[in-house]
């Protein structure tokens, strides 16, 4: 057998042996350091997406002796990034699917497929949907977002089965795709885009782009209408120029100041009404509603009245509850956007901070970068980047760094960025779950 050494010097065999011993002990009420003195503390991670899975892996990289439990309801995780390609008919669902074998087998993360139903921060316990209770020394919440149902009149969970949001990937993505496939040529795809802050600022506009691309090829008489609760959106100049270049007038965008804000949805009739009473009828209706932190965050007491989670800039520990760290879309981390890239990066800072905290030493200084890639077309990529540090106790963009793809870039550059977008997706998925669909042509 090939004994492979990981960074800390422990062999894989030693790792598995350690976990095997741990699983023999009852988890309820067990003292975290009872396993023959080998455990350096127990961390429970809630959520197995870009934030949670990365946190679990990087905690193990920092110190394999930390017991890491990852609680994620799904056995297969479908990524929101690149789900727009499925909507555009360019990728199958399995190309955005990721599993947890690598985290379990290579890193020794204990993965439990259940929901977390309650957090008792004082007792340092979480309660699972199975009824089981788990102790923790530190808790990482990466619960993503939940929709604010009925923030738009008439848009509740039931309505989302007729007018999907597809703002969590999986069955919603497949539902919206099947609706697009069934739409008659000449129909209108109406998208309702939310006000800030929301998950993935450029996401709706990439979606509009790739739907337009699909329609141009398969249903050329059809149109895309975006009704926006904002006057400005991410990479707006680049998107607008790209739409004109690739799709002519197929995409119409109506901003807030042109009465673009939708206040009421009728999912049965596929109609939406704006704040000044204009009614729009859709053939396929995609409502991206206002959002908030995943609901377990509120249960844990880490949300504020905005519905999002304020965190300490240096470590992403909750500002409200000790020993709970929160990463990803759920957090108030502006100017960092709500993106998978940022969740992955925040998780690494948290892993380092927790590993340091468990050893009573100071956490390293935080660094983050983000690059949001968007595909305006299969060979037309654009990006916006940012580098972030903590300045005066808050997260700030490093001046002089970051920025948009050039407005006047050549076709070759757009094609190169589209290639790098795929490379980014493969790399970040490998970094997060250890699985990668490999280089696939879009």
């Amino acid at each position: 057998m090939n004994h492979r050494h990981n960074r800390s010097g422990l062999t894989r065999r030693q790792l598995i042996k350690g976990i095997g011993a741990a699983s023999l002990l009852p988890l309820v009420g067990s003292a975290p350091f009872a396993i023959g003195g080998q455990s350096a503390g127990r961390v429970v991670v809630v959520g197995g997406g870009f934030g949670g899975a990365t946190a679990a892996k990087y905690l193990k990289r920092a110190n394999p002796a930390i017991e890491v439990l990852l609680i994620e309801p799904n056995e297969t995780f479908y990524t929101c990034p690149f789900s727009n390609l499925h909507l555009g008919g360019l990728r199958e669902m399995d190309a955005i699917a990721h599993g947890y074998d690598e985290l379990k087998d290579r890193y020794g993360v204990r993965v439990i497929h259940a929901m977390v139903e309650d957090v008792d921060a004082d007792a340092h316990k979480v309660t699972l949907s199975t009824g089981r209770k788990l102790d923790y020394d530190r808790l990482v919440l990466s619960p993503g977002i939940d929709m604010r149902w009925n923030a738009l009149e008439g848009y509740d969970e039931e309505a989302a089965e007729k007018a999907p949001h597809a703002w969590k990937a999986g069955t919603q993505t497949e539902l919206l795709r099947s609706q697009l496939e069934a739409m008659d040529d000449g129909g209108t795809f109406v998208m309702v885009a939310p006000e800030n802050p929301f998950r993935c600022p450029p996401g709706p506009y990439e979606r509009a782009s790739l739907v337009a691309n699909y329609l141009a090829q398969h249903k050329p008489k059809s149109k895309v209408l975006i009704l926006d609760a904002k006057d400005n959106f991410s990479k707006q100049g680049l998107f607008t120029a790209g739409w004109e270049r690739l799709y002519g007038d197929r995409i119409e965008w109506v901003g807030l100041s042109s009465d673009g804000r939708v206040t009421r949805v009728d999912a049965d009739r596929l109609e939406v009404e704006t704040e000044f009473g204009t009614v729009h009828r859709a053939d396929v209706l995609n409502v991206i509603p206002p959002q908030k932190a995943g609901w377990i965050a509120e249960r844990a007491g880490v949300t504020d009245d905005s519905g999002w989670v304020p965190v300490k800039a240096e470590t992403f520990e909750s500002r409200q509850v000790a020993d709970i760290y929160v990463v990803g879309d759920a957090t108030v981390a502006a100017p960092m956007p709500k993106s998978g890239f940022c969740a992955n990066g925040q998780a690494k800072v948290v892993a380092a901070a927790i590993a340091a905290s468990l050893e009573s030493r100071p956490a390293p200084e935080a660094y983050w970068t983000n690059t949001c890639y968007s595909l305006v077309g299969p060979e037309y990529g654009i990006s916006v980047a940012g580098v972030y540090r903590v300045q005066d106790g808050v997260i700030a963009e490093v001046e002089g760094a970051g920025g948009l793809s050039p407005a006047d870039a050549s076709d070759a550059t757009r094609a190169l960025e589209a290639e790098y977008a795929v490379g980014w997706y493969n790399a970040i998925c490998q970094d997060t779950w250890g699985t990668s669909p490999g280089s696939r042509a879009t």
Binding site: N196, S360, A385, G402, G403
Partner: protein, 272 residues
């Protein structure tokens, strides 16, 4: 050996400090009426207050803690405090303490307004305190402030969209029917660049100031609601306010900008 929980102790310490401050205030070392607030440090606000010490209860300013786009921050100001029976809020002033020019807007309300609550969208240059001051018909004064942190999310870098024609597309959403004594919300929107006069255009020249200065709503010729707007109101001004007509009315909505140009919208209102 469970590691320290520093946050817990810090929080306890903060609570203790706050308790001490409150105790000191209660003893009378600080007079309750002498309410500390950023309005005392802003000349424009002090001139509205005059000699009066404002009451800090009752006026509520709703703003996000953090806004990712300082060009358009949603704001709602409302009053739900105590007033004498025949008194009503007649004026609300808004200030942005760290903007180049702190006055945002002044709203003039009448008994025909019905409910002293206004929503709009404002420009905030940077992280700062926003101040609201309400004045009642009988001269009571109320003040409140909220801090807003402005970040420009890297993902939100703007390239300016096409500017529509100033004073074009006035939109008014007003209920066709009112119940007497029951104020209802009215929403208005109109295109306008609300050019501050501080911005450099693509040619390097300062783009001249061009803003809507006044918005008036009249019912059967009588002024019901008025707004004086300044450059800190976001482009394409949005105003939500309340009306409470007593009889069937012809409502006239008029916007006037600093060139003297106007736009007008009329609506018939029934009361039953």
């Amino acid at each position: 050996m469970r590691p320290d929980r520093p946050t817990h102790h810090d929080a306890a310490r903060r609570r203790l400090l706050r308790g001490l401050v409150a105790a000191v205030a209660a003893i009378g070392l600080a007079t309750p009426a002498m309410a500390e607030g950023p309005w005392q440090r802003l000349d424009a606000a002090r001139s509205v207050l005059g000699d009066a010490e404002p009451v800090t209860q009752g006026l509520v300013l709703d703003l996000p803690h953090v806004s990712e786009d300082g060009a358009s921050v949603s704001l709602t100001v409302g009053f739900d405090g105590e007033l004498a029976d025949d008194d009503y809020i007649s004026r609300i002033d808004l200030f942005a303490t760290a903007n180049p020019s702190p006055e945002i807007a002044t709203f003039h309300l009448t008994p025909l307004s019905g409910k002293p609550e206004i929503s709009t969208r404002v420009r905030l240059n940077e992280t700062q305190q926003v101040i609201a001051i309400a004045t009642s018909h009988q001269g009571e004064r109320f003040a409140t402030a909220r801090e807003v942190r402005i970040t420009v999310s890297g993902c939100l870098m703007r390239n300016g969209a096409d500017q529509p024609e100033p004073l074009s597309n006035p939109r008014v959403s007003v209920p066709a029917r009112f119940s007497p004594g029951q104020p209802e919300a009215v929403r208005t929107l109109i295109n306008h660049p609300m050019e501050t006069g501080l911005r450099e255009g693509p040619d390097g020249e300062i783009v001249p100031r061009h803003i809507i200065e006044r918005f008036t709503v009249s019912l059967n010729g009588e002024t019901a609601f008025e707004a004086d707007l300044h450059q800190s109101v976001s482009a394409s001004p949005y105003l939500l306010f309340y009306l409470s007509p007593e009889q069937d009315s012809e409502a006239v909505f008029e916007w006037q900008d600093d060139t003297g140009s106007t736009a007008r919208h009329e609506a018939a209102i029934e009361t039953s």
